[in-house]
């Protein structure tokens, strides 16, 4: 026998999924939200999303080259981050701002901590908060949905969270006929994407359900309109796509529940009593930081340790 054989440790089979495949599924799940943003805010949304995705992938590529590591620019994780940054921008924004946001997300939040799998907060969420604080006026210049049809510049308005009086009914919120960031207004599109991810077993429904459920119950208890709160602002986008980020959410089942409830609690508290309407961003980042502790608390019990041997 002349041919050399591969010798590797068992198992010698793999189920066939890859990181790239998972990231591709997330991108597919976000297509409805992208389509909705184009319908609601015009083709300018594609420009913003494109710029932020391009900037994210490019920064990942350059970073890995400079650090002389294996290049992860093609595993689509940077593309997902870029897309999420783009979907968190208002339509009227200067495209340089999302581009800058993607650079922050990839370079500062992700690569400086060791790249994929090592960042302790969600890069897109952290970038949104940094942009929100750095460019408060541009980041909050909301435009009405379909504003692009009426005038060239669109009409600027407040997000329904800051000024609920402008809202006509909940159905408008569900289909996205309100002001807000590109990807967050159309709840229906986000839910479709979430169902796709659950059906493909990319995410489990635990975090979105506990998160949204907590917000629903809390706002109802505090005398608010719960339907308004679960569809307004970035909650759907945050709960389905940002809080479920593998890297920054707990792996354990009970950890996921604690994490979801925590996100919900902080979101409601910040929304109702805080001075900024940024409930979702801050609460997810806060819970991201707590993840190692949550995981430690909710370590699974090993096989055979459940009951004492009788």
């Amino acid at each position: 026998m002349t041919e050399k054989l591969y010798v590797s440790p068992s198992p010698h089979l793999r189920q066939g999924d890859s990181t790239r495949g998972i990231m591709l599924d997330v991108l597919i799940a976000l297509i409805p939200a992208v389509v909705a943003s184009v319908v609601l805010f015009g083709f300018r949304s594609l420009l913003i999303i494109g710029v932020s995705m391009f900037s994210a992938v490019l920064s990942e590529y350059i970073c890995r080259r400079i650090m002389k590591r294996n290049n992860t620019a093609y595993d689509l994780s940077a593309a997902v981050t870029g897309l999420l940054v783009g979907l968190n921008m208002p339509v009227s924004i200067n495209p340089f701002i999302p581009a800058f946001g993607s650079v922050i997300a990839i370079v500062v939040v992700k690569q400086m901590f060791g790249g994929l799998g090592q960042n302790f907060v969600n890069p897109a969420m952290a970038a949104r908060i940094i942009l929100m604080i750095s460019f408060p006026t541009q980041m909050t210049r909301w435009t009405y949905a379909f504003g692009y049809i009426r005038t060239l510049d669109g009409l600027t308005t407040a997000t329904p969270l800051a000024d609920p009086s402008g809202l006509r009914n909940i159905l408008d919120l569900v289909v996205g006929k309100s002001a807000g960031c590109l990807g967050e207004t159309c709840g229906a599109a986000l839910i479709i994407g979430g169902l796709y991810l659950i059906a493909r077993r990319v995410i489990t429904p635990v975090i979105p359900l506990t998160y949204i459920g907590t917000v629903f119950v809390m706002t109802a208890l505090l005398g608010q309109n719960p339907f308004f709160h679960i569809f307004a602002g970035g909650l759907m986008l945050g709960a389905i796509f940002m809080a479920t980020d593998y890297v920054t959410c707990p792996m354990t089942f009970w950890g996921k529940i604690i994490y979801g409830i925590g996100c919900g609690l902080f979101t409601v508290l910040i929304r109702l009593y805080g001075s900024m309407p940024e409930g979702v961003s801050f609460s997810i980042i806060l819970m991201n930081i707590l993840v190692p502790h949550i995981e430690k608390l909710t370590m699974p019990k090993f096989f055979g340790k459940e009951k004492k041997a009788s």
Binding site: L5, Y6, P9, S10, R14, G21, M251
Partner: protein, 449 residues
């Protein structure tokens, strides 16, 4: 244990984790074929867990089939017998698939297959006879572990075993040797079961078969209902869910009885005895004929094999002779496994001999042999959901990377049975099992210091 009672479950108990693996059991419908004796056999002196045997023969000796050629004084050990008749040409050293060095007796076959006159059916009247007979037969756990059978059957006096589980789960892809054993030798299976049940005074026997073997369930179910030998109907077939690793001892016990074997304990601690179907059938045949363990049915399959089949081969036959018997290679083999693809060992060449606990030889071509490259862990948690032992593989890997021995132990690294579900389900294709083995090695080193 008595609190649980001794009911016969209609459905298996729930088990945690596991993965769905492709079956690839094309050889399940084929009758086993008997391989003629090869020109030369290489019989390693270590084919079991425990002390290696000392060769009792020297070069130039003439040996007959069934003659004992190696034994050890140690309790945890099993004697080794000649599988062909012929002349011992040399005694050499080989490296076994698991990396252990062992002496091996090389016998040049004369093709006669002359039986040794000492091969006589044992006289069994009590438990001590059974233990002696199973030691003399050279029987080890044929499911793959190779634990000497007489040690397993020798139940400590303070332990009470009420349940015998016959393992016909065979959850590994490709392998069908137990499946064929249960079909072709079903009467031997049952008579082995009755003998052990009677001598060990066991009240409940569960023959656990994965649901992907309906023919085995049907056949065994039919003959397990035997009014003469089993008037109280205490031997029954239990169909299991088809899910890897259903055949792992601890998981099997949980699926059959709902009991969990605590960490570091043995099945007898929860009143269970698990035996592989082929082991039981062999024991029954041995009681009838007295011929020790010298042949083994192995599944030869994989994309590089021309005619996949179940082959009954003399122990010590080099794998390349078995593959030649199966029509040779279809394409250049790139990986040859001894055992299944989930837990089998990759060989570095094809001259390795078939051993007692070998149940399959699988040869892969380039496509299956190459594993995808490792990427970064994305903490998706699939390994955790797949782990049947409820461990947290990423946390264990981290502890191994930082050489934190206490941390590893606290995370239950020693409970890991290396079933491979974590690596199998990992989308980043990480070698989790390998890392865990490294960690176990570190612990062993630190303890031996």
């Amino acid at each position: 244990m008595s609190a649980k009672g001794l009911s016969f479950p209609k459905k298996p108990f729930k088990t945690f984790g596991g993965v769905t693996v492709p079956h690839k059991k094309a050889t399940a419908v084929m009758d086993s074929v008997i391989m003629p004796p090869p020109k030369q056999v290489v019989i390693p002196m270590q084919q079991h867990i425990g002390a290696p045997c000392e060769p009792y023969v020297s070069p130039g000796d003439y040996v007959r089939v069934g003659q004992m050629i190696g034994d050890s004084d140690a309790y945890v050990s099993a004697p080794i017998h000649a599988s062909v008749s012929g002349t011992v040409s040399k005694i050499t050293n080989i490296i076994l698939p698991n990396g252990v060095k062992s002496t091996a007796v090389v016998i040049d076959s004369d093709g006669e297959m002359a039986e040794d006159p000492t091969v006589l059916p044992p006289i069994i009247t009590g438990l001590s006879d059974l233990l002696r007979a199973s030691r003399e037969s050279g029987l080890v756990g044929l499911g793959g572990a190779g634990f000497p059978a007489h040690v397993k059957l020798d139940i400590p006096e303070d332990k009470n075993v009420d349940t015998l589980i016959i393992n016909v789960a065979e959850c590994e892809p490709y392998i069908t040797s137990d499946h064929r054993e249960a079909l072709e030798n079903s009467w031997a299976v049952l008579s082995g079961v009755y003998a052990i049940k009677q001598l060990l005074k066991i009240k409940r026997v569960l023959i656990a078969v994965e649901s992907n073997k309906p023919d085995v369930i049907e056949v065994l179910d039919k003959i397990a209902y035997n009014r003469v030998r089993d008037p109280k109907n205490e031997v029954r077939v239990l169909p299991l869910k088809t899910r890897y690793p259903q055949g792992a001892e601890k998981i099997l016990i949980q699926a059959c009885t709902g009991r969990q074997v605590p960490a570091g304990k043995l099945p007898v601690d929860v009143g269970c005895l698990v035996m592989n179907v082929t082991s039981v059938a062999f024991l029954a045949t041995y009681m009838k004929t007295g011929m020790p363990l010298i042949t083994k049915r192995i599944t030869v399959d994989g994309s590089a094999i021309k005619r996949p089949a179940n082959v009954i081969v003399p122990i010590g036959t080099p794998i390349k002779d078995v593959i030649e018997f199966c029509g040779g290679y279809l394409q250049t083999p790139k990986k040859i496994l001894m055992g299944g693809p989930m837990m089998g060992l990759a060989l570095y060449d094809d001259t390795m001999p078939v051993m007692k606990h070998t149940n399959a030889v699988i040869a892969f071509g380039e496509n299956e042999a190459r594993l995808p490259d490792e990427t970064e862990c994305i903490r998706c948690g699939r390994c955790m959901r797949a782990c049947p032992m409820h461990l947290m593989p990423p946390a264990i890997c981290q502890a191994v990377e930082s050489k934190d021995i206490n941390g590893m132990k606290k995370l239950g690294i020693l409970d890991c049975m290396e079933c491979g579900c974590c690596s199998y389900s990992c989308p980043a294709h990480r070698f989790i099992v390998q890392k865990i083995r490294t960690g176990k090695d570190m612990i062993r080193h630190s303890e031996s210091k």
